[in-house]
């Protein structure tokens, strides 16, 4: 059934449905007399394994689009299928579950919980998934090892560098093995060199088959993606493919 639906929509003939399938999405903010249309009808499809940069100046609507993709916000109109599943009609609880299992967030400001050590920070989404303690500990150690911070598992966020914090945040985002890694200005708070280190990590994850959406306004960061979707004034201005910049650590 899923396949027939995709064929009807003239999507490319691939067996899994697109991870993100957004059609005709509008987002209208109303505040008293003021009406502001942040998104004016956006179509975006992102296939599994793609690394996409969502670019645009501030006020372009890229953040709103990211929030809708991340199920933090709902579109005013239009449809959104996440991994083939209609997510516009989900209840608050179902959206929380979907954020937990299907989406991994990486924020500009890292947003690690300051009183928890790195291991416990990575375990937070696993706890909300209801994973038993022993299993979640093991999984959290695995992903920390993946980002090269296993030896700092018992440290507090305040005891590590910015680049390391962002790697912990990536580990946390990966913990529930989501369909989609959603990174909002992941290098915005980092210097160029540590920013490159974090981008190298995203490059590796992309090579392992993880679907990544980078939200950024920096062309140097966008260069790491194989596809750039430019948003301006609430519409998709361009959607281009490119050869991603290779990172040599």
């Amino acid at each position: 059934m899923t396949a027939s639906r995709i064929m009807e929509r003239d999507a490319p003939m691939i067996s899994p449905p697109p991870v993100v399938d957004i059609r005709g999405v509008r987002k209208i903010y109303e505040q008293g007399e003021m009406v502001f249309e942040a998104l004016k009808g956006v179509d975006v499809q992102i296939a599994q394994g793609e690394m996409v940069a969502l670019m645009g100046p501030s006020g372009s609507g890229k953040t709103t689009l990211m929030q809708i993709i991340g199920l933090l916000d709902r579109p005013s109109t239009g449809s959104y299928h996440l991994g083939g599943r209609d997510v516009t009609t989900l209840s608050e609880n179902e959206r929380a579950e979907a954020r937990n299992t299907d989406i991994g967030f990486v924020f500009q400001a890292f947003h690690l919980l300051p009183r928890l050590n790195l291991l416990e920070n990575v375990e937070v989404p696993l706890t909300y998934a209801g994973m038993p303690a022993a299993q979640s500990r093991e999984r959290a150690l695995d992903v920390l090892r993946r980002v090269g911070l296993e030896d700092k598992a018992r440290n507090l966020p305040s005891q590590i560098s910015g680049g390391q914090k962002q790697r912990v945040a990536v580990a946390r985002a990966l913990a529930t093995r989501p369909r989609l890694l959603l990174a909002d200005e992941p290098t915005g708070n980092l210097d160029t060199r540590t920013g490159e280190e974090v981008m190298a990590l995203f490059g590796e994850l992309r090579a392992e088959g993880t679907t990544v959406v980078l939200v950024t306004h920096e062309p140097e960061i966008g260069a790491y993606a194989e596809r750039i979707i430019r948003v301006r004034d609430g519409v998709v201005e361009s959607d281009t493919r490119q050869t991603p910049k290779r990172v040599t650590p």
Binding site: R23, G24, T77, G84, R85, T89, E97, A129
Partner: protein
Amino acid sequence: MTTSNTSGHTTEPRQEQAVQAVPTRVTQRGIGLGGAFTIAWRAIIGTPMRSILTALGVIIGVAAVVALTAIGQGSTAGVTDRLESLGTNLLTVQSARGGGGGSLVRGGPSQTITVKDAEALATAFGDRVSGVAPSVNSNVQAKLGSLNTQASVMGTWPAYGAVRNSPVEAGDYFTQADVDSRKRTAVIGHQVLVDLWGEGAVPDEALNQTLRLGSVSFTVVGVLPDKGNSGFGNANSQVLVPLSTYLQRFSRTNSAGGQPTVSNVYLSATDAKDLTELQADVTDLLSVRHDQTDPDNLDFQVQNQADSLESLNAITSTLTILVGAIAGISLLVGGIGIMNIMLVSVTERTREIGVRKALGAKPRDILTQFLVEASLLSIGGGIIGLALGVAAAYAGKFFNIAPVFSATPIVVAFIFSALVGIFFGYYPAARAARLDPVDSLRYE
């Protein structure tokens, strides 16, 4: 929520339904109470000073209930013990309002019990009592050399010691002969001994010494033991003298029909089973002697110890209700304190709440987290308050009150404090649960 009516639904309703049927990959159970407990505990120990200040109202409330009830029950038990040690066989005859003329005009019961009444009671019931002792007293300055102290001088009969279960530590009570001849002999209390003969004085030192009560000199014939200072008045400041001597030297011209009067007459029944009947017989005899016709409005009253215990218990239960009300109010204030800090805490942790929601926390998970935190604070406050209350109650020992702990007030205070946390924690927790993830992530 209402903004999510998608145009896609109206064009392809069937297919949308089919797609919705794709199951989620993981069945989620949420964090559960254990997970919420861990999160809340970390938040509490993360800011220990604030947590203690938050719980302070509950701590003080619970400590107050526990300490006050324990001290209250302790002092009640002390007084009850004293009353019982005085003998459960005791009858006390007192003047009462009403009956005799003139008392209403003066606004208080006049003395209606005369020495003759006491003598009549002794004659009539001599075979049923171990003794009869009238008493009348007033405060008089006691002096020895340059030292002096305030003494409660009581005129009575030698039977007083047996009737009131108050033996001497040294010497003996004055004799009937002393009463008959109005001798100036005295039995002094422990405090009088200490004040006039000095701290650590041996009772024997005072025997046969002469002290002055007011301007009259008396010879000490007996010394009473230390009776402690709990209960009514101070038994240690007593000086007992023969009633006849008292009436001659200290009487405040109280009389009824020309007869000298006394405040009380004590009788102790030989057999406890006879007490009720004796009480009735004493009442009958005095009614005849006082020409009383209305049994509901006598000019005297005859009380037994059970009556005294009953009125004591009535006072105690009133005090208990009062303590409970004060404690309830302080717990309420404590609860408001918790709500206040929890509201501040929710605002401060807006970003944390946003992060948790982005990572998959449901509204219910956030609600549970903050509700458990508030409950832990108030239950923890309850436990600390319990410990402090017990400690404070034991500190009451310095005031000669042994605390008596009973389960009910402790359990009630504890449960109440937990309920306070849940009740006052709900509003802040619900507010946290409702926060919008986008807004809270953006919160600075």
